[in-house]
Symmetry: C2
Subunit: 200 residues, 2 copies
Amino acid sequence: MAEKSERTREYILDQAYKVFAQKGYKQVTMKDICEAAGLSRGGLYSHFPGTKEIFEAVLARITGVEENDFAREIRNGTPAAVILEGALEAMEREMDHPEESLGMALYEYAEAVDPAVLESLNRKAEERWSALISYGIKTGEFRKVDVEELVNVILYSYQGIRMWSSIISLKREVPRSVIRHIRRELVGDETSNARTDGGK
Amino acid sequence: MAEKSERTREYILDQAYKVFAQKGYKQVTMKDICEAAGLSRGGLYSHFPGTKEIFEAVLARITGVEENDFAREIRNGTPAAVILEGALEAMEREMDHPEESLGMALYEYAEAVDPAVLESLNRKAEERWSALISYGIKTGEFRKVDVEELVNVILYSYQGIRMWSSIISLKREVPRSVIRHIRRELVGDETSNARTDGGK
DNA sequence: CTCCTTTTCGACACTCGTGTCGATTTTAAT
DNA sequence: ATTAAAATCGACACGAGTGTCGAAAAGGAG
């Protein structure tokens, strides 16, 4: 039978990802996507009924892959400080390159179509960080901070920077200093450092 | 002579403010504004050439008024802790009611038309907070925090929450906990409180 | 009240994006 | 190579927003 359809569909989603990452959600038209994928509007419509469905398909493909779950590493007994460093690195990377992720598009999609998606991702991020911080406190690696408070500071300063840096050029120091703040809150002042390996 | 034009112009800007505050920037059409102002599209066009110019006029009218400047209060010798409380209250108010300010519209305008506006406002906010915190440290009211670091955390967690709460309903606790964090960083833990009046 | 100026209206032409559909090309099984 | 099914094209009708313009309706100075 014909599997051509599958291949072009995947290719469309690959290209659509780039378009959404670069332009956001609402400003993307069928024309943009069909040009990026190299087929006509008519051809594209026979694969997807609209940008909304394309975006949702793109989203569906990556949400499965996004196994940034801290829970697994916690179960593995990885020291909280190590998990934290990995998470902070990922955060910094995305704050520095907002145009490579769907961040803005996702935000706009939530605003225009369905806030529930953002709510769900938000809740998930919240749970992940709460689990990590609680774990670190329990093992004695982290200071006894107010978990909910710090999680909110982490999540929203991250989001704020990400959105801001997608339209104005932020000094590289901005994300860095926020990350430094988080690290300082959790593992104490830089002066009394060298704690990232003392866990177990 | 004819001053009717002036009056309707002001009225248009009044109504346009509400529209922009509620709908953002890009989704606002001439139709929206002329309906809000109660005149026809043709009539509106004889006052402004487009939504862009209307938004800029709205902006120009309020940026003069926005005398949230801490500098004046610092010169007056108001204790840093008092200025801080006022600022935090204002922040919390706006985080709770994002639909009453131009926040989102301004963001979209910057994205679509001119990032410089946001850059300028950003720099101004940064300077204000830096001045306040440095001042508070100098008078001994605030702890000796890393000023740049905390300013960034304050500004961007504020922006993050504001933007998020404009599309998903955030628990009231979220802005509160971030504000609590800021206060704790500056004036120390709640347990050793009653410091807001000990300044001079 | 009169009359010229200013303001306002609403219809028109235009652009851009959407979604549809029959015709045409390509695919792949035989 | 043949051929039925599937994929693709491009032209069409439509809706929504823009910006323009002459005509109509207020405004206000004398």
